[in-house]
Subunit: 241 residues, 6 copies
């Protein structure tokens, strides 16, 4: 049944992953990540201040914002800045990215400064939040390296790597890395965020019309685990380049 995936992709195959560092010139970390036709620009900005709840704590902060260019999608969507507010979906995603990245940061070691991650979708074809997390990690690494090069940090505050992938069930088959046409047609959709050590950071499964079983959860988690290993490798390769 895997023959039915666009481009003849196998059920357990990722789309082509491309990670381009130093994509723009101003940010301390700037990464274009591509999962097939999905393209997300992830920048990491270092700011020598922390939000109120961290002031005087000796700890830093890592947070994220997410956006989508109006015509990143098949049909143009409203510009959130013009509408005057971010949608619930946008807020949900940026909170997820922030939590995922904080899971691998030692905020004490970061010191009282903020790493602000901006994930902006240039082109969307499913999986934008998982691409954003995977790319934001690479951008965060570059920001940490910049802090070290500046002599502002000696030890790295990064405790581990983090990457994310979506998995889903369509017509009873578990699929890795859903692209848009699959995502909108599938029965169950799960986003999984894991560390380099193979542990879970986030797990978000949603039944889209058809509920799912414990056995399917197991199958999806295995598939996600395999995909994330490949993404962690792609991150390492990009960071060694």
């Amino acid at each position: 049944m895997t023959a039915s995936r666009p481009g003849g992709r196998a059920a357990d195959a990722l789309r082509a992953v491309r990670i381009t560092r130093h994509y723009t010139c101003h940010a301390e970390g700037s990464v274009l990540i591509e999962f097939g036709a999905t393209k997300v620009l992830c920048t990491a900005s270092v700011e020598e201040r922390v939000p109120p709840h961290k002031k005087g704590s000796g700890e830093g902060w890592v947070t994220a914002e997410y956006g989508m260019l109006p015509r990143a999608t098949h049909t143009r969507s409203d510009r959130e800045a013009a509408r005057g507010k971010q949608s619930g979906r946008t807020q949900e995603i940026q909170r997820l990215i922030g939590r995922s990245l904080r899971a691998v940061f030692d905020l004490k070691l970061l010191g009282e400064r903020t790493i602000q991650l901006d994930c902006d979708v240039i082109q969307a074809d499913g999986g934008t939040r998982t691409a954003a997390i995977t790319g934001a990690y690479v951008a965060a690494c570059d920001a940490v390296r910049w802090l070290q090069a500046q002599g502002k940090l000696t030890a790295s505050p990064l405790k581990d790597a983090v990457a994310a992938i979506s998995v889903g069930i369509k017509d009873g088959v578990a699929l890795l890395d859903l692209e848009y046409v699959e995502d909108s047609a599938c029965d169950t959709d799960m986003n999984v965020v894991m560390t380099g050590a193979g542990h879970f950071v986030e797990l978000q499964g949603t039944a889209e019309g058809v509920v799912f079983t414990r056995t399917q959860v197991d199958e999806l988690l295995s598939l996600a685990d395999q995909g994330i290993r490949e993404l962690l490798q792609a991150q390492r390769r990009a960071l060694e380049a």
Copy 2:
């Protein structure tokens, strides 16, 4: 180690669950649900109209909004209406409630009308979103019965029951139905939404500081499954009363 839970509760024990139907007089369904000290008022309102994306489809819609009274919490929080926007957390929760309830509705059978669920937290002590989903189902049942009594519906559009519970890991121990002091101290927190048939609707696990393993996921899902069975029974008892 379970001795350490507040009130000497066992690790796999729910707090006292109380479901009071007809709590307020205007709504077609009105339920006060209590998980221990957590109290959420869930009302179901029937509106003879649908949102734009359903107009002319012959299908109905089920949606939810969530709010917390400013002093439902230990420290007063800002009133969202006064601040002029709902927080990301609020939007995330109300989207979750809406998806969970839609999972058990046959929107075709509902016909072109909306069931609007309002879940307002009167008193908070952890687990407000899971209490909200569990209570909203009972309110939705009452709204459906009202539609049937009015002769507006013959067959019930409800395909199954739905309930939700939180589980978490604290000091290595899996705990069922976290109350506030546990929730804020635990390493991992998972919200699970399941149907009467024992299938998953939503699964949201988050590492709060300490990442979690596959084995822990399994343990948490089993615990949630047991808790949700008890909640489904409480719902049935309430609906038969």
Copy 3:
């Protein structure tokens, strides 16, 4: 003509008044007040800070916010937090509650702290603003007692009690404590706020379609005076319980 009131109530009779203290567990004062089917939860929160215009003045502040659960009313109303702003009516009412309570507070004796009153309508059947003022006074008393028990205050900053009632004219008859069906049908509607000493704090009369005479003002004020005496007694009884 009084036979025409719902439930056969006399023109000069209040609905059943119930005042339940300690209704929720977190607030320093928490009161559910019921005027017949109207139910308002009034909480008083003590905050050890004052708004900018009181900083360094040695004086405290007392303020109020008002809200209505979306389905507190016969037909569901929009959630103000979702719409992104409070209506003119909401702001008018919360300003009235704040002024009414400040009228009986010695802000100097309160010291540089704020008592924040939150009045949330759980169920509406007319008279929500007057119930809110009457209940908020009891919640404020409990907050003051809490401050005294904590040793933060010795002398009470409360100079007097305060309560409120609505009166109106329907078909030429002056009625006390209008419920919703009367309120929406009456010619003139007046909200009166008075102290324990029998003096006026606020007086707001509005002609709804039919203008009113000086004689009618007199009649309404007498009726309100009588009703407020009964409310003051109900407050005293609740505070002695």
Copy 4:
């Protein structure tokens, strides 16, 4: 004690009232009203549409908006358009103006159109809301005359005149038509809206620090009654000019 009023004004004297019709050229009614140094521009705009709740009713609508130029006051206040919302005070006042004017309109005779009143304070020295109501009535008359001249109306939808004045108690003395320094220092402040026939439309009394008695209410209402008679005469004179 009346010697203490600014300018040696008697306790029961209005400030100089000036009503200038056709103050601006575009509006169907345009009136500059002055109560001493208080200057409010009141325009009445006729719009051939009604708000949703009046559509198809055969009835028209009369509504008002109120604003204050940022430097109409002694100290500059924020521009509401720049802050992005109208204050509670502004909304309270514009709702009061709207209700007051609707009290003298037969909306059936007006037909399905709207008279939109805009009351903008050019210079403030107390009593802006009462000046606004008094001036808005004259502007509304001119709009009605315009409608008649256009042949759009034969019978006038105006049932009576309407005017408003503030009264207050300062150091035990009842004063008519408070100017700013009096208003901010007085113990009790009451705004009274009455018709040409001498009946009440609105009555809003507020204790500013010192509560007030029934006797004082009587005294204030008599004083207001006298002041409003003079304003009604000023309106008539202006309309005959």
Copy 5:
């Protein structure tokens, strides 16, 4: 072809310019400026504080806000305060006024204080932004004189005068000081801001349907130069009065 202008005005003639100082009583500078039927109230408020980006700089700030009364125009426009935001046009104009005035201020000499200019259109008939700039300069002069009279400034921070005019091309003819009917019908519209020394501060030309040539730019700039000389003279006369 100049015969075709309303009122038989010559192509190179300004409308009647009237500048009334001390128009309102509270502001440090208050000027009503009229360009024919266009009337703009310009107030200058002195505030002893500066915005964040100037704090501690030793320099002051000059800024402007612009508004239009809802019925200043032929057809009533929405009140921006009620809509909850300023239009793009409003923001564009107030930014232009602010830049124009800052061009003639020595912010160092002004000291760490702000001159806030408020330009509110009472009646609109084209050219409101140019009238606003021209009038705001006179109001700013009065504010500076007030600061000098108060002994807060010795040397004047005003380096030069500034005034503005609109010019345009209609049916191939260059016209000075467009009124509304001309503005909405013309092919090209240019707003020019110049100093007393005859230099440019701002130049904003826009093709409205028909593009314009270099020759036309030259013609328009000459016409504007002449008109602005007359306005500068009117300012001087007003300030000497």
Copy 6:
């Protein structure tokens, strides 16, 4: 003195201009335009509807929105969607882009549909608005070709080409195509928009601290004219590729 430009650029030299069509896959027109380090993604979306003021007119509409990714700039700027409103600068720019493009469109020939241009700055180094206009024209051409290929249009509604450039004066020298360090240091800054026929669409000159003379206007317009000719050629080359 031209030796002082970054990279040794001549005073009358453009930065390297690169125009990449089909940069993203969903939009009907999608162009990445680069002026040196400034990179703007311009998409043109065809929508088969028009805004209210064009409904039933038989005419179409062309409009633009502009945004900047938060870290497109040297220092991160706030995300406008998160702040809840677009800045005055953003609105000014998007209104300029819209007007510029409409100047070369025959809206009658376009028919009742909208071409929505989105100009998003990926990397900023001065001249983002002029790059946006120049790139938006190419995107609009591609959208028109798409409409023709779909058979929805026969004749092209494009009457001419349009391009824009910034010019400025720094230390008395007129410079073409200012990059960021020049822009923030220059005395006068002018944005010029011209058509393929060499006529003006928009002209916006601003004195930044130092006012400018008529001679300088002439010099700047000549320089702009030359630069725009080169840009028009770059557009043609890109469209022929």
